[in-house]
């Protein structure tokens, strides 16, 4: 099958590659671009580990072809840190609130939470839980992931984060 030339922006940098039409975006990112922060979990659109941000949308990159992303602007977990290399509010939240155990779901969680907070900088706890309902974590029971996002929300809004009483 003839390969197609694709170009897109990933974490601010123009990238290009030759792909078969059937190449999934997640494989292009991991194999062609050698950016392995985006994980492959279930490969069936359920788990959300492969979530990337495409033109302002959270998308499961195992369910989109690389050719479909032609010309798009993509952010992966590698692009989450602040411009000066310090941890973003979300990354800091996951660190401070122990929002991960094995860490496999974390790239997808952080990229998804990034878009959630862009759309709604002050989500309620139910809004956070609904917002990350397309991401599966098998370790944490989600409690600390929710806290991590609350921490980031507080930091973004310039208020002190206070954990809800257990």
């Amino acid at each position: 099958m003839a390969k197609t030339h694709v170009t897109m922006k990933v974490n601010g940098a123009e990238v290009e590659g030759l792909v078969e039409p059937r190449t999934l975006l997640v494989h292009f990112i991991r194999e062609n671009l050698q950016m392995t922060g985006t994980h492959i979990g279930c490969e069936t659109t359920h788990c959300g580990a492969c979530t990337v941000d495409i033109d302002g949308m959270s998308v499961k990159s195992c369910t989109m072809f690389a050719v479909q992303a032609q010309g798009s602007d993509i952010i992966t977990v590698e692009g989450m840190a602040n411009a000066d290399g310090t941890l973003s509010a979300l990354q800091e939240g996951f660190r401070m609130m122990h929002g991960l155990q094995c860490g496999f779901c974390t790239p997808g969680m952080i990229v998804r939470a990034h878009r959630l907070l862009k759309e709604n900088p002050s989500p309620s706890e139910p809004e956070i839980r609904t917002g990350i309902s397309g991401n599966i974590c098998r370790c944490t029971g989600y409690q600390n992931i929710v806290k991590a996002i609350q921490y980031a929300s507080a930091k973004i809004n310039g208020v002190e984060f206070q954990e809800a009483a257990e």
């Binding site: 059937r22 959300g48 998308v59 499961k60 369910t63 072809f65 998804r112 309902s133 397309g134």
Partner: protein, 287 residues
């Protein structure tokens, strides 16, 4: 899991897409949000030789008013439906049902056109469109035609779409002011298809149900309109006897498959409960 090989096409007009579909014949499939088709392709349950990506066609996007109808372009996503104030105000049941489809990531991609055109009995929009009395615009080489949602579904994955035709928009009559509505969906987890679901749109006058329409999701090989169930509540105050009669009439037309969501008896039983709950909640919202 990687799909089989195919050629990728990205037309920029409906006419070009129709021409490609017509010329390439049965080996070609239109690609909308792709969240049903791509997983099927990974499993090799679908092996199209050509994919015709509809994302390049700007005319297929957007929500507009036409008279008393809301016209939704086929490539409008569930996320865009949820973001629309017009949808939330004019037909809150569409907002409510869109929020119960899959998960946030899938809703950024999943389209109303794909949801209604695929003919999957598990999809939520078809029964809702039947309940709301929507019409689908189908465009092919011979021109455009309109088909009522109620006449569109012929069997699981079999619809009124002819080879070479694309569903381009959905036209939904805005329900009467003061109507009440509800979509009740029982599912095992976020992202699952319904074990059973019911859509209700009704109006109330003088404490009695004046008009009522009921749709059922995933309890038959096609979405269903439960006309007898709706008749059973019209003219009543939705008392216990009327609710019971309506649920029984709805259950009588259900023929779900036994699957991981439960045996036939269970799915029919909870289907009746979904009808009861949707009726009660719709009535509580009617003015």
């Amino acid at each position: 899991m990687i799909p089989g090989s195919f050629s990728y096409h990205r037309p920029v007009s409906v006419a070009d897409a129709v021409k490609l579909l017509t010329d390439l014949g049965e080996d070609a499939r239109p690609l909308a949000g792709g969240h049903s088709l791509v997983p099927m392709m990974k499993l090799r349950l679908a092996t199209p030789a050509h994919l015709i990506d509809l994302h390049g066609i700007a005319a297929l996007k957007g929500i507009s008013r036409s008279g008393n109808n809301l016209v939704v372009g086929a490539m409008t996503t569930q996320h865009e439906l949820l973001a629309s104030e017009d949808v939330a105000k004019a037909m809150p049941i569409l907002h409510e049902a869109a929020l119960l489809i899959a998960d946030p990531q899938v809703r950024y991609c999943g389209t109303i056109g794909g949801n209604v055109a695929n003919g999957d009995p598990g999809n939520d929009m078809p029964a809702l469109m039947m309940t709301l009395g929507a019409t689908y615009r189908l465009e092919g080489a011979g021109g455009a035609r309109d088909v009522a949602a109620a006449d569109f579904y012929q069997g699981a994955y079999f619809t009124a779409l002819e080879p070479g035709e694309i569903l381009t928009s959905v036209s939904i009559p805005v329900p009467a002011a003061g109507h009440g509505s509800a979509y009740e969906k029982l599912k095992r987890k976020v992202g699952d298809y319904a074990t059973a679901a019911a859509a209700v749109v009704l109006t109330v006058a003088g404490g009695k149900v004046a008009t009522c329409s009921i749709g059922l999701t995933n309890v038959h090989e096609t979405p269903l309109l439960a006309a007898d169930a709706a008749k059973a509540v019209i003219g009543t105050s939705l008392d216990a006897a009327a609710l019971k009669k309506a649920a029984a009439a709805a259950v009588a037309i259900m023929a779900p498959a036994a699957d991981a969501r439960g045996p036939v008896e269970y799915r029919k039983h909870v289907g009746g409960i979904m009808v009861t709950r949707a009726l009660q909640r719709a009535a509580s919202r009617a003015k």
